[in-house]
Symmetry: C2
Subunit: 198 residues, 2 copies
């Protein structure tokens, strides 16, 4: 019992009291329920891998997006984490593929280009699989933070010599917000990136 | 004393208790201090007008921006309120002129084009003053809200037949934010408005 509480308490956002409550819930629940939870945890760890192409989470070699012939295989949106991919996918606005970097460059934390899946991204561009079309556009979808911008800058440099067009997600006023509450950096982006209206 | 407290309590964010505290502060303060406050209030109401060109707040016929020959008089950024102008001006990124609409279209509240300074904006474009250069770009800087978008759409329609290029402030991810916390509308804007990277 002690070791179950300890293991539960190691999860993020779960303190000692919550862990105790969860442990007692498991103790009191029917045996099949508890075993299903154990099995689900085991299964995730054993069966969930990273997609061989884009490093999205997947339970087969290729993820559902990379394996889908209806997606636009000439466009790749580069994100930091699988959860960014999920957020973008929920909009339903994007029909291309993704590439998950598994992090961002962070010299202070010792995270260098070799620690991310940058080489794999460049290989997808330089050396496409025999049956795959050539990648024509890379969309940088890194977080609009200092480290995200640094990573985007590094990637743009690597991509400059390659025959792909490079774009980045728009930056500016968040829809639904009010101009008067936006900070200087957001307003400066909005002025600089202003878009033509037909 | 009662009437001073009542008047103070009518100001936004000042309740009965705060009004009382302010009234007693005025009562106890030296006479010249209190009279300077009274004079400042009177002076604002008597001397602060709207700029004859752009409807910004001004204490002379033309505001300091419209009167400044160093600003780019061929560009006009259209905003809803003087406080939007102040926020944009603080970025230091924009060197053109402004036009304050004094509100936004709102059919539900009965605010029609005639209630805003739209006719005056069109006159600035169609009929520039003898010494002024022709306006070449109108930047729509309305709030990214339903009513702001409606007003922008109406203005874009009015401007279509005129020889000016029309743009709008960029919409997308707010700088410094995280992709995973952005809502669907913001992410959809960011994907649609993606910008080319050289």
């Amino acid at each position: 019992m002690r070791s179950l509480i300890d293991e539960l308490a190691r999860m993020p956002g779960i303190g000692a009291r919550s862990a105790e409550r969860l442990a007692f819930y498991i103790l009191k629940s029917e045996s099949p329920d508890a075993l299903r939870l154990a099995e689900a945890i085991r299964s995730v760890k054993e069966n969930l891998h990273h997609c061989a192409d884009c490093y999205n989470l997947s339970d087969s070699t290729l993820c559902a997006l990379c394996a889908d012939p209806k997606r636009d295989h000439t466009r790749v949106l580069v994100v930091e984490q699988p959860k960014d991919l999920i957020a973008l996918e929920l909009t339903g606005m994007y029909k291309g593929l993704y590439h998950v970097l598994m992090g961002r460059l962070s010299p202070l934390d010792g995270i260098a280009p070799g620690d991310l899946t940058i080489a794999q991204l460049l290989r997808r561009i330089d050396d496409p699989k025999p049956d795959a079309p050539r990648i024509e556009e890379i969309i940088l979808g890194l977080n609009p933070t200092v480290e995200g911008d640094g990573t985007a800058l590094y990637l743009a440099g690597e991509l400059r010599t390659r025959r792909v067009s490079v774009s980045r997600l728009a930056r500016g006023l968040p829809t639904g917000g009010m101009l008067e509450y936006a900070n200087k950096a957001v307003l400066a982006d909005a002025i600089q990136g202003r878009q033509s209206v037909e």
